[in-house]
């Protein structure tokens, strides 16, 4: 019994009052992930927009529904707020290139908030969440590569202001990428900071065979910002990646490019 209590106390040091994300401060707020966008001659990003409020009962009683997309650069600076019409029951593929343009770098983050929260959702003490689907096209490939969102990273409260919802830990922690990085390939790890403070992160590659550590890379992530770090992996040396930070879960978006073909997934 004492062993169990000690185990629980040790675990509590990592979890007590350290949630992955916080609740928005107001009911009726809309929540979104902070999705990654990439835009350049080689990269195009799309977002699948659905009228998610309209999926709920009594949606017809809601006021006019629309979505608002906010785009941020890698430093977390908002440079665009754009209204998007919604079409109930329909799929709408939003091309980010038309919105982000060429003046804000080649990568950043974006969020999508739905204007109307169904009463049945607020009655349950819940918040409408956009954790949908982003796709990337590399070098005019005939197929896009999809990846879903999964974090309630940012909220928009009724007065229009934005809140970052990401939690942080009392102690620095390591996130081990659940993927063996094999080559020859270029990996680009995108890490988003959904917290309200700057976060220092260390990316460490370790040989999957010998445990030998390679020179790491450091990044300083601004609130709401992101880092996109490249790693070249040889065929002869598969590696695993460890990301150290005081974010609760520093899970990157992984871009893997081999023979000009893209694979993208959460690690």
């Amino acid at each position: 019994m004492i062993v169990e209590k000690v185990k629980r106390l040790r675990r509590a040091a990592w979890t007590w009052r350290q949630p992955l994300t916080r609740r928005p401060t107001q009911l009726g707020a809309s929540v979104s992930d902070l999705f990654v966008w990439r835009n350049s001659a080689d990269w195009k990003t799309s977002f699948e927009l659905m009228d998610i409020s309209g999926l709920f009962p009594e949606a017809g009683e809601l006021p006019e529904r629309f979505a608002t997309m906010y785009c941020f650069d890698l430093a977390g600076r908002c440079f665009l707020e754009n209204r998007l019409d919604l079409f109930p029951g329909r799929r709408q593929t939003i091309e980010l290139a038309e919105l982000v343009g060429d003046d804000h770098g080649e990568a950043g983050t974006f969020a999508v908030f739905h204007s109307a929260t169904p009463k049945v959702v607020t009655d349950m003490g819940s918040y409408l969440a956009e954790r949908g689907y982003v796709s990337f096209r590399f070098k005019d490939a005939p197929l896009r590569a999809y990846v879903h969102g999964n974090l309630d990273a940012i909220s928009r409260i009724p007065d229009g202001s934005l809140e970052l919802l990401g939690g942080s830990g009392l102690m620095s922690r390591e996130y081990c990428l659940q993927h063996e990085m094999t080559g020859p390939a270029l990996y680009e790890l995108a890490l988003v900071n959904p917290t309200a403070a700057e976060r220092r992160c260390t990316f460490q590659l370790v040989s999957a065979r010998s445990g030998k550590k390679f020179a790491g890379q450091n990044a300083l992530l601004k609130p709401g910002g992101a880092a996109l770090l490249p790693f070249h992996v040889d065929a002869s040396e598969p590696v695993r990646a460890i990301i150290k930070s005081d974010m609760i879960m520093a899970r990157p978006l992984v871009f893997r490019i081999q023979n000009l073909k893209l694979d993208v997934f959460h690690g």
């Binding site: 979890t15 992955l20 609740r23 929540v31 699948e48 659905m50 998610i52 999926l55 709920f56 009962p57 079409f87 109930p88 029951g89 329909r90 799929r91 709408q92 593929t93 049945v120 959702v121 349950m124 003490g125 819940s126 918040y127 409408l128 969440a129 954790r131 949908g132 689907y133 490939a141 005939p142 197929l143 896009r144 590569a145 999809y146 990846v147 879903h148 999964n150 309630d152 996130y175 081990c176 659940q178 993927h179 063996e180 094999t182 370790v206 999957a208 445990g211 598969p238 695993r240 609760i248 879960m249 899970r251 992984v254 893997r256 081999q258 023979n259 073909k261 694979d263 997934f265 959460h266």
Partner: protein, 214 residues
């Protein structure tokens, strides 16, 4: 039936290919990989309970993928057994269009009981609720459902309903030459809300849409 693939020491990592285990997997069986602290029984009448630490943030994960000689596509592939009374409702905006492009739904189900149960997968156009086609799917299987030829256009939003079983809906697209691949799964309805009674929201959405298109 369970077979050991070896020991993984702390901080070690291993990639396992289908070819590596092909000789162990009976025809038409679904192979499941797992980590355990103690070996499960070699033969059991239901899915063994795994003796393993569970975490939720982050959850224990494994990256799974499909590959050809030219390309690979990956997704986070962990799955817990579904309850036999589970159902499926999901909206899938992943169809891709173009010459030589094929689209499939891979509906993955695992239950504690190894008994196969069949059920109908209904595919609708969300706007208007028109049934496009029904397919037979079964439990404890990766059911491969072709999505082309159902008349969906780029602005249409397919809706997938299965009233007899739950599953993970994976969308797989490829070019006929295998040079390009895409694979991702859609969220369950509970992911449309956070905090509060999320599972009530899921029940509500399923009730609404199951009755709307019944």
């Amino acid at each position: 039936m369970t077979k050991s693939l070896g020991i993984l020491v702390p901080n070690a990592m291993r990639t396992i290919t289908a070819a590596e285990v092909a000789g162990m997997v009976p025809n038409n069986a679904l192979a499941l990989l797992s980590l355990t602290l103690t070996p499960p029984p070699a033969i059991s009448e239901s899915l063994p309970k795994l003796d393993i630490l569970r975490t939720s943030v982050p959850a224990w994960r494994a990256t799974l993928g499909l590959s050809t000689e030219a390309a690979q596509t990956s997704y986070q592939g962990e799955v817990d057994p579904f309850l036999p009374q589970g159902t499926l409702l999901t909206f899938g905006p992943f169809l891709q269009y173009g010459p030589g492009v094929e689209n499939f739904l891979i509906l993955l189900n695992v239950e504690n009981s190894p008994v196969y149960r069949s059920s109908a997968l209904e595919i609708y156009n969300t706007d208007g609720g028109e049934l496009r086609k029904e397919f037979d799917v079964r439990t404890n299987d990766a059911n491969i459902v072709p999505l082309d030829g159902l008349g969906f256009q780029p602005g249409d939003l397919p809706m997938f309903i299965c009233r007899g079983m739950a599953g993970i809906p994976l969308y797989f697209s490829r070019t006929l030459d295998g040079a390009y691949l895409s694979l991702e799964h859609t969220h369950p309805p509970s992911s449309l809300v956070v905090h509060g009674k999320r599972w009530e929201a899921q029940k509500m959405l399923k009730h609404r849409w199951f009755n709307k298109v019944a």
